[in-house]
Symmetry: C2
Subunit: 112 residues, 2 copies
């Protein structure tokens, strides 16, 4: 994968590294510990193998995730957050803490 | 706009409210103060009017942004973060602070 230069604006840089919801959800899973590819697919129903591969490769490129292939039979490949990736815990916690303060919308709004 | 129930998982709820990069970039602009529609378009080159309208409507639906139409000639419509929306400042700052710790990739990686 070609590593493109990252934007200087911190928010834009974040959105380049974690683009779209799947990237963030993959990080959410990996914050629970290392996962195999198939475990990530099972944990994220609806993600395509292509999207999962593409996000994991980007994370590897930027030093957020390591990929370890164990010389076993059958082969085992594990994805694990680096310390840099682990630092995303604070960001995801800030996202979640804020989102949980957003009230559920009124399912039966009054019609005026 | 129909307000769908929000996910119970905080991270998923966040990704429902701020889906895709434009939503976050709109918030980034509004954290600098109220903006008119045309000002937001100018500040976010490449955003389509459709996407901008759609994101602003979702923000209104969930109480993140208020839309104020001033009875002037020509009419003036302003979008402004609510206190709930202003609370996103901490989240965007956490995103940016983390992203700025990610090193730029080596533009000329050694070939082994």
């Amino acid at each position: 994968m070609i590593a493109v230069p990252l934007p200087e604006c911190g928010v834009s840089r974040f959105l380049t590294l974690l683009d779209g919801p799947w990237a963030t959800l993959i990080v959410r899973e990996l914050l629970d510990g290392p996962h195999r590819f198939t475990e990530l697919r099972k944990a994220l129903p609806g993600i395509s193998p292509h999207t999962l591969t593409s996000r994991l490769r980007r994370f590897e490129t930027y030093g957020i995730v390591t990929r370890t292939a164990y010389p076993e039979v059958p082969p085992r490949v594990e994805y694990r957050l680096t310390p840099l990736g682990e630092d995303l815990r604070d960001v995801l916690e800030a996202m979640a803490a804020w989102a949980l303060t957003v009230p559920q919308p009124d399912p039966h709004p009054a019609a005026y």
